[in-house]
């Protein structure tokens, strides 16, 4: 595998308002189990239907950090460097129930460059919606700092 340096965006070429290529992810229960295992997060609310129902939820919910991990991958893919996202934070304003129906849900990631900071840093605003681009926001990361090369 080689890294295509020519494909990486350059700080000089990016202006505020630039929208990164968005992405839609399908998320099923098995993906939550996989994330939970990889992240050592065994909280029953992410896989056990009985617990979810007892808490008044329709089904177990996605890990907030799974959603955030998917969103961050859109940024690292664009930057061409998994180390490019140097500061990020966000809120999970809505829970994401994921039914165990073999279909799951769709999460759509949107990211826009808001501001050029001192080179080579950019401030981006990132949002994840449940469903398509008109769905409700389940994650907002308004101050995500990406350092390009």
């Amino acid at each position: 595998m080689t890294v295509e340096t020519a494909a990486r965006p350059r700080y000089e070429d990016i202006e505020p308002g630039f929208r990164l290529p968005g992405r839609t992810f399908r998320v099923e229960r098995k993906d939550l189990v996989r994330y939970g295992g990889a992240a050592c997060d065994y909280n029953v609310i992410h896989w056990d239907d009985r617990t979810a129902v007892a808490m008044g939820l329709p089904s177990p919910i996605a890990h907030g950090m799974f959603t955030m991990g998917l969103a961050l991958g859109v940024l690292t893919d664009w930057a061409g460097d998994a180390g490019a996202v140097v500061d990020f934070g966000g809120r999970f304003p809505r829970l994401v129930p994921v039914p165990n129906d073999g279909v799951g849900v769709e999460l759509t990631v949107e990211a826009t460059v808001m501001e050029k900071l001192e080179p080579p840093r950019l401030r981006l605003s990132v949002a994840v919606r449940l469903g398509g681009s008109d769905g409700g926001k389940v994650l907002t990361m308004p101050k995500t700092i990406v350092a390009l090369r």
Binding site: A38, L72, F92
Partner: protein, 152 residues
């Protein structure tokens, strides 16, 4: 909850050695496709000593450390086994790479109550074996009070 615990710093966790296969397992779970997480040569071409972890990876370490802190009897949180994540931030000094040996130091940054549920905020500092600061996380969790708290 005992508000007098705010500011309490917990002892550093046992050292955690970041393995290559753990990075790949985590990268696969979050569908991180960047070559720097998968291929040592690609990571080195970007100037890293080995493959690097996806940006949200430190949660693997901080969650367990913060989970232990939620169970601190002195804190007196209502129902420590049912909590969901409300907010998370990570600020990096440098990426985490395979071979790093990391410790986490957790500080209780704040306590609150929302809708009858306890809310706790922790600040967790990750350091490498030589003491170098790697990143700092800030986590907010809602701990559900089974006696009538609202699920958001």
């Amino acid at each position: 909850m005992n508000e007098g615990c705010v500011g309490k710093v917990y002892p550093p966790t046992a050292p955690y050695e970041v393995g290559r296969e753990k990075i790949k397992e985590f990268a696969a779970a979050v569908r991180e496709g960047n070559a720097a997480c998968w291929d040592t040569e690609a990571a080195r071409a970007l100037g890293y000593p080995d493959i690097i972890a996806p940006p949200s990876f430190p949660m693997v370490l901080t969650l367990e450390a913060e989970h232990d802190a939620v169970h601190d009897p002195e804190l007196g949180a209502a129902n420590q086994n049912r909590f969901v994540h409300r907010e998370q931030r990570f600020a990096y000094n440098r990426p985490i790479h395979a071979g790093d040996v990391l410790t986490v130091t957790v500080r209780l940054a704040g306590v609150d109550s929302v809708g009858g549920n306890d809310v706790v905020t922790y600040e967790s500092t990750l350091k490498a074996a030589d003491g170098e600061h790697v990143c700092t996380g800030r986590s907010t969790f809602v701990i559900f009070n089974q006696e009538g708290g609202d699920v958001p």
